[in-house]
Amino acid sequence: MTQIFTVTELNSRISDRLEGDLRLHDLWARGEVSNYIHHRSGHRYFTLKDREAQISCVLFRSNGGALDFEMNDGKNVLVYGDVTVYRPQGRVQLVARGIKQDEGLGFRHLQLEALKEKLAAEGLFAPERKRPLPRYPERIGIVTSPQGAALRDVLRTLGNYPARIILSPAQVQGEEAEKSIAAALLALRGRSDLIIVCRGGGSTEDLWCFNSEMVARAIFASDAPVISAVGHETDVTVADHVADARAATPTAAAKMAVPDLEEVQEALKYTKVRMMRALWTTLERAEDRLGHLQHVLSARRMYSLARDSRQRLDYLSQRLEGAEAGRLKSHKSRLELLAGRLGAVGPQETLQRGYAIARSGKGLIIKAEDVRPGEDIELILYQGRLRCRVLECRNDEEAML
């Protein structure tokens, strides 16, 4: 006979069946923690999983004291508790009463570590391989989901920066995500100066595609530098390790990608000032040089003037010497001439004929009255002189011969 249940009835029946099964009580389950949330209410929610399957778990606040270690994603644990059904959602869950840390790493975690080691050995994480980001990218490629908040954060932060923005859509979650991201990266080849690969926050599960080898290799092979911004600050994926730069969030990635517009404007203004200043300095230097040249030039002129003057002086003095000599010569000949003429009018010839020159202390004696009796006088003869004393002065005609 067919029975029709309401959903409530159905979930009650499942619940009764499961919770009545003693094998699903007081059990231990082993697995890896993911999507761990320590809710405000004090309850802890997480997913326990292994390679094949997962189950929701909750540790109510009243049992929280049972934890003696730090719970976080990726941790391998042993959970002690009971299977129940959360009726409003028809969800089977494991209600934990105690949790112990399982020694040894989770399988997926081991896989991830192996991948990291392999890629590191190949040099994909090497710091010297990382390319510098262009300072002023003209074309910015973005690999992300067109619907995501991450894209909006990036676009808002890029603001008015003058660049072409090329969206290469990708699924960033789920089975196909790694292929989709790798393809989106490849599609940007030759089309961008810089690529931002981003995704908003999510569970470790959600972000797992960024731990894929395919994505890592696609980032590595990109012809433009890649900024990776996956999840929040604390989420570091393989993509982050391979990327040329890692940003904590999509917003941070956009800030990293472009310079601050105001800063660039300021820098331009300052450049203008620097150029003007430099030109001014050059002008001043040219002016100084001009002044100096002027100075040198005038000194040179003075010098050449002085040289000219000296030459002229030499010339003049030469001429002067010549003139002086000539004049002296003419003096000499004139002197000889005069001496000749003097000789002609001199007394010597007269004295030779027996005349004498009489003179007193007052000069020549021309008349008898020029002297007095008893006065000494001198007679100059043709040869020699006589000293004589006057006896008498007669002023008559007979005295004349």
Partner: protein, 69 residues
């Protein structure tokens, strides 16, 4: 104007070089004036590039979501 100066980065790089040469002061006055003029042209080129920035978003696989286009 040279090819690489048409991009913002190229223009800013050239500008940086010009300022350095100018500040070095080894050019003649005439050369300096020429450089200065070229530098000023580059400054206004950069400024107009920065001011006439219209966001150009395109999508490699078709339509952009309506809130972005």
């Amino acid at each position: 104007m040279k090819q690489e100066e048409t991009s913002l980065e190229g223009a800013l790089d050239s500008l940086e070089q010009i300022v350095e040469v100018l500040e070095d002061g080894k050019m003649s006055l005439e050369e300096s004036l020429e450089l200065y003029e070229r530098g000023m042209k580059l400054v206004s080129l950069c400024q107009s590039r920065l001011q006439n920035a219209e966001k150009r978003i395109e999508c490699l696989t078709g339509e952009l979501p309506s809130d972005l286009s």
